[in-house]
């Protein structure tokens, strides 16, 4: 069994890239925050649909890389990104690319639930409205309802869509943020430690939700919880000190890592 597994591992490692082009391709991505070299030569492919998890100790650059995918790092004045990232073979750092369009395609869910201090309805409706996705009020209501339903929140809030988004519990707020992200029909959803501020029950609910959403979206999740990565993801990338150490199918990373650092991290020897 063990032999077979290691063989599989070898086979996977040498196997060429799948014929179907990856959804997101990063080639030699370097990120500097001022003088700090935060991310070094990261090259990784993120396949379409399914969940990919980024793990690694704090400050290893996994969140930085995540924020490169929707160019959220642009908002940090000192941040400088080099290298190439493509989504569906389009270079997202192309000067002609409209970053707003990019972010509409690449939704994001943040570590701390951050609903707008507006009504639940407005929270979800904001994205479709600014992108002109709804032609009428009924359209918009339809989008809000379906987004909330897909985020598994609709039943809990259907009677109080006018209440403030901040009045919900932490787990509900995070699902509201997910509903807000999927309301603009993105291809990719980036989740930056989405469960770190939540209790285990809310976490389980979100993980379950990710399982449902991966059917239709490419999900990239940064997490500190290795159990979570193991539970929800098909592929896992391990970052350490700004380097992408190892990337591969989740099972292989956890059961049979190739790199000593990965081995040490997942067995809890540091971090």
């Amino acid at each position: 069994m063990a032999v077979e597994k290691s063989l599989t591992n070898e086979a996977l490692a040498v196997r060429p890239q799948p014929a179907k082009a990856a959804k997101v391709m990063a080639r030699g991505v370097d990120v500097h925050y001022g003088a700090k070299h935060a991310l070094k030569e990261v090259t990784v492919d993120i396949p379409e649909k399914g969940v990919m998890a980024f793990i690694g100790p704090s400050g290893c650059g996994k969140s930085t890389f995540l924020r490169c995918i929707n160019r959220m790092n642009d908002t940090i004045p000192t941040c400088r990104v080099t290298g190439k990232i493509t989504i569906d073979d389009n270079d997202i750092y192309d000067p002609d690319l409209d970053v707003v369009q990019l972010r509409a395609r690449v939704g994001m869910v943040f570590q701390k639930p951050n609903p707008f201090p507006k009504s639940i309805f407005e929270n979800v409706a904001y994205g479709p409205r600014i992108h002109g996705l709804a032609r009428s009020k009924t359209d918009l209501e339809e989008i809000v309802t379906s987004s909330l339903r897909r985020a598994g929140l609709f039943e809990e809030v259907k009677d109080r869509l006018g209440d403030s988004g901040t009045s919900l519990s932490g787990g509900q707020q995070q699902r509201l943020c997910i509903a807000r992200a999927i309301a603009v029909e993105p291809d990719i959803i980036l989740m930056d430690e989405p469960c770190s501020a939540l209790d285990p029950i809310a976490t389980a609910r979100i993980e379950e939700l990710m399982g449902e959403l991966m059917e239709s979206y490419t999900i990239v999740i940064v997490t500190h919880s290795m159990q979570q990565a193991a539970r929800v993801s098909q592929r896992t990338a391990f970052f350490h000190l700004g380097n992408l150490v190892e990337e591969g199918p989740t099972e292989l990373i956890f059961n049979n890592p190739r790199d000593q650092r990965t081995q040490d991290y997942i067995t809890g020897r540091f971090g």
Binding site: T75, P117, G127, T166, R180
Partner: protein, 578 residues
């Protein structure tokens, strides 16, 4: 792990031992220091509170009388020839008519028997020059009143008004014992009494003379000690005066004259009032202030000796005026009412006619210009600096200079306004427009700083959330960050406006300090503002204006408190947690 290991390796002796005397002393010292600190805070708070309470109590005490006004409620007969019959439809002609004879006659009718011109003049001076304004308005509204007798309040002059507000003199009265015989009913008369009714007054008077003589001697001695030659004459004069007083003091039974430096003595007899000018034990001579009804003898107890305790020289209302005012009060003609005029009239040289409407309108117009300029410019500048400006030397320089501007003395902005808006752009002097522009310069830095702080206080997670769903930077700012910062911006703006409302110095420079009677109606008319009005009034010598000053301060304070209250209310109402 390593932390635990290292902490357990501290030798036992170095661990804090809570049972030793030194440790307990340390704890006691800490408690004492905390108690001391609390006490300092409480003392500071108490001192502040005392200052504030004293200040406000003093302003209220001085300002409250100005909100009341006294009028004489008299029957005025409006003569048929006041306005020619063909002009009775013309309100301006009615208002322009000469009401002085009308009001004078009404007053003379209330106190009959005044013959001397000077007494008549004193009587008519009790009324304000604007006494008949109310009457004129009534007639203008209803011209059929011409030829009829109307009961109407006539505004009293400031001095008469002040007298009724208690700035008069304590009045005491005691019945005469003997039978008093007046020698006439008007003019200068003598009154003889069958008893020595005036002996006590004469003794008191003589004693005063003795005291004054002694005081003059002391003064002369003091001057003499300086020994200067120039003072020799003065010393001699003082000594002569002292000797003369001494002489009068030494002859107790000799008749004495009263003067304005002594309390006034009056005799109320036969329905009239006589001011005593010369006094002996059983006879007085004096001037009739209010005519006597007859020359008949007044039996014991039917006449009174009246004393106005404050010497005539030390009060605003002369004996004659006091006599008139007391008589009018006895007649029930004095009407006390809320001083609406204070809020409806512009400035005036006559305190009883002066109001703050002009200053209030001026302040309102000025603040409107300030707000209309400051809010958009200030908020947009703050949004640009906080959200869009690239961080470089230029923006740093701008930022530092905005902070510097907030600290520039306001008079400098006034000079700038004078040089720029008046001299260069040729805008009208004293106009709310220019005042508003100058105050806008003054308040702009405050608003920019407050707005930037409010924008900065919006958590970045909100911006990230907006950007995350594909909002552009501008959409994120205008849809999310700015609305959330608005309560803070409003608070800063209101506090800046309150600052502008209370600002005086820069407005002096651009000529908003003029005496302006008309209530301004546009942004380019000459106007003044509340604090400048206060400054102007505080400078005037009339005591009535001192009350007006305090009253205007109260009005200003009410507005300032209301604005600050609104700021607090906004902050509380829109305060949110993320």
């Amino acid at each position: 792990m390593t932390d635990i290991a290292s902490s357990s390796s501290i030798p036992l002796g170095r661990r804090p031992n809570k049972s030793t005397d030194a440790a307990q002393a340390r704890v006691r010292r800490r408690y004492r220091s905390e108690a001391r600190f609390r006490a300092y805070g409480l003392i500071a708070l108490a001192i502040t509170t005392v200052f504030l309470v004293v200040l406000i109590a003093e302003v209220v005490r001085k300002g409250a009388p100005a909100f009341l006004q006294h009028s004489l409620l008299l029957d005025v007969s409006v003569p048929a020839d006041l306005v020619p019959p063909d002009k009775r439809g013309d309100a301006a002609a009615i208002r322009g008519a000469d009401y002085f004879p009308v009001t004078r006659d009404a007053l003379m009718a209330a106190i009959p028997g005044i013959e001397s011109r000077s007494a008549e003049k004193t009587l008519t001076r009790l009324l304000s020059p604007g006494a008949a304004d109310r009457l004129a308005n009534m007639i203008a509204a209803d011209p059929s009143l011409i030829g009829q007798t109307v009961r109407v309040p006539l505004l009293l002059s400031a001095n008469a008004d002040l007298y009724y507000k208690g700035v008069g003199t304590p009045i005491t009265s005691r019945p005469g014992r003997g039978i008093a015989t007046p020698s006439g009913t008007t003019g200068e008369i003598t009154i003889l009494t069958s008893s020595n009714d005036f002996a006590d007054d004469l003794v008191a008077l003589k004693r005063r003379l003795g005291e004054r003589s002694a005081a003059l001697v002391v003064e002369a001695d003091r001057l003499q000690r300086f020994g200067s030659a120039g003072l020799a004459d003065k010393v001699r004069e003082l000594r002569e005066e002292a000797a003369a007083l001494r002489d009068r003091f030494d002859h107790p039974k000799v008749e004495e004259a009263l003067d304005g430096s002594l309390p006034s003595l009056l005799i109320a007899i036969n329905g009239g009032l006589v001011k005593v000018t010369r006094l002996s034990d059983s006879a007085v001579s004096g001037d009739v202030l209010l005519p006597l009804s007859s020359q008949a003898d007044a039996p014991s107890g039917a006449w009174n000796l009246v004393t106005y305790a404050t010497p005539e020289g030390n009060r605003k209302a002369a004996d004659q005026e006091v006599a008139f005012l007391e008589r009018l009060r006895d007649l029930g003609a004095v009407d006390r009412h809320f001083n609406f005029r204070f809020f409806t009239a512009g400035d005036s040289r006559e305190p009883e006619l002066a109001g703050i409407r002009g200053a209030l309108m001026g302040s309102a117009l000025t603040l409107f210009v300030t707000l209309a300029l400051c809010l958009p410019i200030g908020v947009m500048a703050a949004v640009y600096l906080e959200e869009f400006a690239s961080k470089n030397r230029l923006t740093d320089l701008i930022e530092v200079n905005i902070n510097n501007l907030a600290a520039v003395p306001s008079i400098v902005f006034g000079l700038l306004g004078l040089a720029m808006f008046l001299n260069f752009f040729g805008l009208p002097r004293s106009a709310p427009l220019v005042g508003g522009l100058v105050l806008a310069l003054l308040v702009l830095p405050t608003i920019i700083i407050a707005s930037r702080a409010a924008l900065k206080a919006v958590p970045p997670s909100i911006k990230e959330a907006a950007l995350g769903v594909g909002a552009s930077h501008q959409q994120a700012v205008f849809h999310h960050i700015l609305p959330l910062a608005m309560p803070g911006i409003m608070t800063g703006t209101i506090i800046g406006m309150a600052h502008a409302l209370g600002e005086t110095a820069p407005l002096l420079m651009i000529g908003m300090v003029a005496f302006i009677v008309d209530v301004p109606k546009s942004f380019t008319e000459a106007a003044t503002v509340l604090p400048v009005q206060i400054y102007l009034w505080s400078d005037l010598p009339e005591p009535a204006f001192q009350y007006k000053t305090a009253a205007a301060i109260l009005v200003l304070l009410v507005f300032l408190f209301a604005m600050n209250g609104a700021a607090i209310w906004l902050r509380k109402k829109f305060e949110r947690r993320w």
